[in-house]
């Protein structure tokens, strides 16, 4: 059954092998543009905001939005716009670095498990499965409980959560690619395992992992915000989107802008990553290995 479906997938993959030029769907363009905008805004935060995100202005406590402070001020009179921009920096950094770390470890593990099979596969797959026993957020909270809170710990915890998911996708994708004729051909010519993996299997099998990684980046951002919201991620006074939501909770009805904008920023970033993921899926993973 499994080998049949793998053969079927292989045929579809082989058919789509000559890379046709893909016209990007509108949603993908929107996703890419939105993400580029958010990343640019995060990088250019000091230029755009015009205020220090940590400067306390007692005269502006819970000040409503105006021309000078378009997003208003928070409970300590700090400028919400600049805090959102600087918070976005931390959030994007944590999200992207955690997924990058997870991908860097997952790709070789998935390649080895999928290509060599046998006891190596069982060892790698079963060990990674163990990480999936706990719900993601709980695993992160448990890790942070031991090491102590902070954005680096949060990033590592998120990387550990996504490692098994990405490794599993890489393994499946490697299984499909390893059964193709050009890999068999290379093997029969006596190429070393290292050479086959690095020049044939890895480049052809990586697509679905990239798709999955882009989708997970959005969820990583959400997870970082959730941890910071619980007080376990980025620590004050460094602005973080989740931390801002926690700060403004008590003044929700008096100063809703303290809550609305950071939440919108998180939602926009997650939408951008998932639209990007959808677009990449059409281009890199037409058979849906990633899902």
């Amino acid at each position: 059954m499994i080998s049949q479906s793998i053969t079927a997938t292989a045929i579809v993959l082989a058919k789509s092998a000559p890379r046709r030029r893909h016209r990007l769907p509108v949603t993908t363009t929107v996703g890419v543009a939105l993400l580029a905008l958010l990343i640019l805004a995060a990088i250019a935060a000091p230029l755009l905001s015009g205020h220090n995100p940590e400067t306390v202005e007692t005269a502006r406590v819970m000040g409503a939005p105006n021309a000078l402070h378009p997003f208003g001020s928070d409970v300590l009179g700090r400028d919400v716009l600049s805090r959102v921009l600087f918070g976005l920096r931390v959030s994007l950094l944590v999200a992207l670095s955690s997924v990058a770390v997870a991908t860097l470890i997952a790709v070789p593990l998935g390649l080895i498990a999928g290509y060599f099979g046998g006891w190596l596969d069982s060892l790698i797959s079963r060990s990674l499965d163990m990480l999936l026993v706990l719900p993601a957020l709980l695993l992160a909270i448990t890790l942070i409980a031991i090491v102590g809170p902070g954005s680096t710990v949060a990033a590592l915890a998120i990387a550990i959560i996504y490692l098994p998911i990405l490794a599993r996708v890489m393994r499946t994708s490697t299984l499909v690619v390893s059964r193709q004729e050009y890999v068999l051909g290379s093997r029969s010519r006596g190429a070393s395992a290292w050479r086959i993996l690095s020049s044939h299997v890895a480049p052809n099998a990586i697509g679905p992992v990239i798709v999955q990684a882009s989708v997970l980046s959005g969820f990583a951002l959400q997870l970082e915000a959730a941890l910071s919201f619980l007080g376990l991620g980025t620590q004050p006074p460094t602005p973080s989107l989740g931390g801002m939501l926690a700060d403004g909770r008590d003044v929700l009805t008096q100063a809703p802008w303290v809550e609305i904008y950071p939440g919108l920023a998180i939602a926009l970033a997650v939408v951008a990553f998932s639209l990007l993921g959808d677009g990449l899926r059409r281009a890199l993973d037409p058979t849906g290995v990633a899902s």
């Binding site: 163990m130 026993v133 706990l134 719900p135 993601a136 957020l137 709980l138 695993l139 909270i141 448990t142 890790l143 942070i144 409980a145 031991i146 090491v147 102590g148 959005g218 959400q222 915000a225 959730a226 919201f229 619980l230 007080g231 376990l232 989740g242 939501l245 909770r249 929700l252 009805t253 809703p256 809550e259 609305i260 950071p262 939440g263 998180i266 939602a267 997650v270 939408v271 998932s274």
Partner: protein, 318 residues
């Protein structure tokens, strides 16, 4: 006969999974770099303080001995003591778990009640239905649950003052008030879930509706309605139930945030408070309780899927 063998096999399989999970929860606290006692006592603690607390928590014993003591206690229902209140953890969990179960159970029911019918409509309806439901999926998945919760409080508790913003009354004390406190947390938790279930139902239905037997049913002149609900939905059910089973794990994780947000005295809030107090035995017990719940729910969904689709239980027991 085959069915019974499947039930037995699957149920017995839960024992090693629970065992592995207990080892993981045990090891995470002890093997991850960083000293829980150091983190607990802070920077000013002397080496003697640290050693004393390590002894009290039996962290100075050999790892195997620690595990055997801890697992032995677990089997007798002894989860240890809360470091702050000194209350037995089994008792604390018995108070907290019903709240978490009520929250996640109601949220899942609501998500299924919304997600499945909309998913069916999304697979069979016209262009506008498809667009609207896709919009709901994207929004539901992207909006962080804690932000949605805050916005719901702003609208329903702040502006309209229809519902209480946070708090809890046990169901046994006053069922109506209990439910009024549950409305916003359940909505918060259920929205993303409904979006996932909608998406799964839609894709499962779309693929089933393409199968030859559906064409045959159409040719036989069976009404569209009966094909959709009587045949296609029935055949999609195993896929939908599988995803629901997995998503319960996500809900249990999400409960941690929602309970904190709405001040519900569930296990999730217990864990967060315990983490902030560096109260390890409680973190360990809370995580263990939620992970065990998840494993048992997975067992129940698998058995249910076996019943829905006898091919699965037959194949597995052969």
């Amino acid at each position: 006969m085959n069915g019974l063998a499947f039930v037995l096999r699957r149920t017995l399989l839960t024992i090693p999974v629970l065992w592995v999970m207990s080892i993981i929860v045990f090891l995470i606290i002890r093997l991850v770099p960083g000293d829980p006692v150091r983190t607990m006592l802070g920077f000013r603690a002397t080496a003697a303080n640290v050693a004393e607390v390590r002894r009290q928590l039996h962290l100075d014993e050999p790892l195997l001995q620690q595990y055997l003591d801890w697992a032995g206690g677990l089997l007798h229902g002894d989860l240890g003591q809360d470091l702050v209140s000194k209350a037995p953890l089994a008792e604390l969990l018995a108070q907290r778990l019903p709240v978490t179960f009520e929250l996640t159970g109601l949220a899942m029911l609501l998500a299924i009640a919304v997600g499945v019918p909309l998913g069916v409509r999304a697979a069979t309806g016209g262009r506008w239905v498809k667009r609207l439901t896709s919009g709901f999926v994207v929004a539901g998945i992207s909006i962080p649950d804690f932000w949605l919760g805050i916005m719901l409080v702003l609208v329903f508790a702040g502006t309209l003052t229809l519902l209480p913003p946070s708090g809890y009354v046990p169901f046994g004390d006053d069922p109506m008030q209990n439910l009024s406190y549950m409305v916003l947390p359940v909505l918060t938790l259920a929205t993303a879930e409904a979006a996932y279930i909608l998406r799964t139902t839609r894709s499962a239905m779309e693929s089933v509706l393409q199968r030859p037997f559906v064409t045959f049913l159409r040719a036989k002149g069976i009404s569209r309605r009966r094909i959709t609900y009587g045949h296609a939905l029935k055949n999609s059910a195993p896929t939908i139930v599988t995803v629901i089973g997995i998503q319960i794990g996500v809900l249990l994780g999400g409960a941690v945030i929602v309970e904190t947000l709405f001040a519900l005295p569930g296990v999730g809030r217990l864990i967060v408070t315990a983490v902030n107090q560096r109260n390890y035995p409680t973190v360990q017990a809370g995580v263990l309780a939620i992970a065990a719940t998840f494993i048992i729910v997975s067992l129940i969904t698998d058995l249910f899927i076996g019943w829905l689709d006898p091919r699965i239980s037959d194949g597995a027991s052969r």
